[in-house]
């Protein structure tokens, strides 16, 4: 959209996505130098170091779990689901921003997505890995999870129950993981070819060469490539909406007050995008400084992401309003009790008010253009949102379960240290994978940024067919 039809300085003219003064060579040099350098920033080692220590904690927690069983976690009847499913939903939700940015914004022709889509897609994959750990290890015996979860002909001729939302989850999440990897790798191929051609060390060039599959940038290949990218985006968009919808069915299909609500699917999807954009900003703000990417990830990008976060945050708050309204308007005494217990009389009411501070009050700062352009403010707001979205799942899952229909089945829930070690362990795994990714693969889609340069969209010659884009 560089060839704007508006005169220069007209307010209707679109904001340039890239900082001016860049060319094909400078963009390529800048983005390949992040990987082909001997001067890794010290901060990178700090992040990977902290991440890797937490991964060691995760290993310890999971080993202990396999030795002793899931009794080391705090969840027990009536709170049969706690950190394991809270963290699962939290991580899956975080992943959704990646697909939203790369698929839905592609279909809407939002050029600003190009600078952030690759790292957001990588974030999706790593978040899904972290998410998948929880239900798999909650089975206690993950080596048996294969026949509990996947329909394959086994000697007992048993099959999963397809009338249960939990098996829908298996299909949704495994499809999501597969399609995300395929979409991400398709996007990587042309940039891997750039890496292959610019690697100095023959072994490194060979590795990138194998991964690039011999891509040579042929016009015919690009033609198919654009076709396929558009189709993959078109397939990913309904997929990403379905994944959190199915995750919300895990709750909405149950009869428990606080779970049994028709607002759940859209409210969960909006919450996922909200959490995801907060996490993208949380990661990109340090990476942008660390690798000096201010010309590629401009304030325009950060402001746009803050706006998406504000809008989806308001949809989430609308969801909170709906839950409260349904509880009152249904006239159902169990539903009304659930809401009073959640907000006022229950022992975990504090979590609901903390949630409102994190997800309702603090993000309102993003209405102000001044704050949307202040990196420390945005980063702080994102941290609140990250915590807030975790608390939202805590409120929905734990406070609904610990006070259900019959007072005799009420009980308190307390997480154990192993719950916390596992949660922070997956955060470490996520950080480690993310920072290893930026160091070995192109974290920004180089070929897409090239299409944003002023001369990248040539006009068909007068004698030609005249029908380009």
């Amino acid at each position: 959209m560089q060839n704007s039809s508006f005169p220069e300085g007209d307010f209707r003219a679109p904001v340039p996505v890239l900082a001016p003064g860049q060319g094909y060579r400078s963009i390529t040099d800048k983005l390949t130098s992040i990987v082909f350098t001997k001067n890794t920033p010290a901060a990178w080692f700090a992040f990977v170091g902290v991440g890797f220590m937490l991964v060691m904690g995760l290993m310890l927690a999971l080993t202990n779990l396999l030795l002793k069983g899931i009794g080391i976690w705090g969840n027990n009847i009536p709170v049969g689901w706690a950190f394991d499913i809270i963290n699962f939903v939290w991580w899956i939700g975080i992943g959704h921003a990646g697909t939203l940015i790369s698929a839905i914004l592609l279909l809407f022709k939002q050029d600003w997505r190009m600078s952030i889509s690759r790292s957001a897609e990588a974030m999706t994959i790593f978040a899904v890995i972290c998410a998948a750990l929880f239900p798999i290890f909650h089975t206690g015996r993950p080596w048996l999870a294969i026949y509990w979860l996947l329909p394959y002909p086994n000697t007992m001729t048993l099959w999963p129950n397809f009338r249960s939302p939990l098996i829908w989850d298996v299909f949704a999440v495994s499809t999501y993981a597969t399609v995300s990897v395929v979409f991400w790798y398709t996007g990587l191929i042309p940039d891997l070819a750039t890496f292959r051609d610019r690697a100095k060390h023959p072994v490194v060039a060979r590795i990138y060469g194998v991964l690039a599959l011999g891509w040579r940038g042929s016009a015919k290949h690009w033609y198919r490539y654009e076709n396929a990218s558009l189709l993959l985006a078109g397939l990913s968009a309904p997929l990403v909406l379905s994944v959190h919808t199915v995750v919300s069915f895990d709750f909405a299909v149950a009869v428990l007050p606080g779970w049994h609500a028709t607002i759940f699917p859209p409210y969960f999807v909006a919450g996922a995008v909200y959490a995801g954009f907060a996490m993208v900003l949380t990661l990109l703000i340090p990476l942008r400084v660390m690798f000096h990417l201010e010309n590629q990830i401009t304030m325009h990008h950060i402001e746009n992401m803050a706006k998406v976060m504000l809008v989806t945050g308001l949809i989430v708050v609308y969801g909170y309003g709906c839950e409260a309204f349904f509880a009152w308007y249904s006239g159902n005494s169990y539903e009304r009790f659930m809401m009073i217990n959640r907000t006022w009389s229950g022992p975990m009411a504090w979590s609901y008010w903390m949630l409102l501070v994190c997800n309702l009050i603090v993000p309102q700062l993003m209405w102000s253009k001044r704050f949307r352009r202040k990196i420390p403010v945005i980063f702080t707001v994102c941290m609140f949102v990250n915590v807030g979205m975790w608390l939202e799942r805590f409120v929905i899952i734990v406070t609904s379960l610990h006070r259900d229909f019959i007072p005799s089945s009420w009980a308190m829930y307390y997480p154990t240290r192993w719950d916390f070690i596992t949660l922070f362990g997956t955060i470490g795994l996520f950080l480690t994978l993310m920072f290893l990714f930026v160091r070995v693969l192109p974290m920004i889609a180089i070929f897409e940024l090239r299409t944003l340069l002023p001369d990248a969209k040539p006009k068909a010659s007068a004698a030609g067919d005249g029908g380009s884009h």
């Binding site: 397809f162 750039t194 599959l213 015919k220 033609y223 997929l239 068909a460």
Partner: protein
């Protein structure tokens, strides 16, 4: 492999351009001049370039549609067969053929099959993986993935003639035209 006796065959003439505009104009000119065995190389997609070389193909969307329908049938068929035929179980009094509950997994398998077919049809139609290709013999071809633009006319083209084609390409504003071998 003896090096003495074999002379590699000529693959074609590879012309280098500086900008997408000169490459696209050259592609139109090459097409008008009647060359058919041609290709262009660029570090990013250029709209209209493949069409300018007379390339048109609508295969991938059809393959993806077919695979999607197959995925839907496979997913729904798996559910129907396992829940109704292979091992019918009464769980909570729900019907064996609970078609509403069968929608989410069938929806996911539809997307899974379609997305995988999209990726594999892209790779296979492009003839990838292809670690060796004659254009890589051009000493400056590595810049085609950074900032330079190339156009090739293959030696097997019926109109190809070493001298005339080279003069023709040079006249289109090529910075340099190099013959590459197979």
């Amino acid at each position: 492999m003896s090096h003495a006796a074999t002379t590699p065959e000529r693959y074609g003439l590879l012309a280098e351009f500086d900008s997408p505009q000169t490459l696209l104009d050259a592609a139109h000119a090459v097409q008008r001049a009647g060359y058919t065995k041609t290709d262009a190389f660029s570090p990013m997609p250029i709209h209209g370039l493949a069409e300018a070389l007379g390339f048109e193909e609508h295969l991938i969307p059809k393959i993806v549609l077919g695979a999607g329908i197959l995925g839907l049938i496979a997913g729904y068929g798996l559910e129907y067969w396992t829940q109704v035929i292979a091992f019918p179980e009464n769980i909570g009094g729900r019907p064996y053929h609970a078609w509403v509950a069968f929608i989410p997994p069938a929806y996911e398998t539809t997307i899974l099959f379609a997305a995988l077919s999209c990726f594999f049809s892209l790779i296979l139609l492009c003839g990838l993986p292809k670690p060796y290709h004659p254009v890589f013999n051009h000493p400056r071809f590595s810049t085609a993935s950074a900032d330079k633009f190339f156009l090739v006319i293959e030696a097997t083209d019926p109109k190809f003639s070493m001298d005339a084609t080279k003069t023709f390409l040079d006249g289109l504003g090529a910075k340099e035209t190099v013959a590459v071998d197979e």
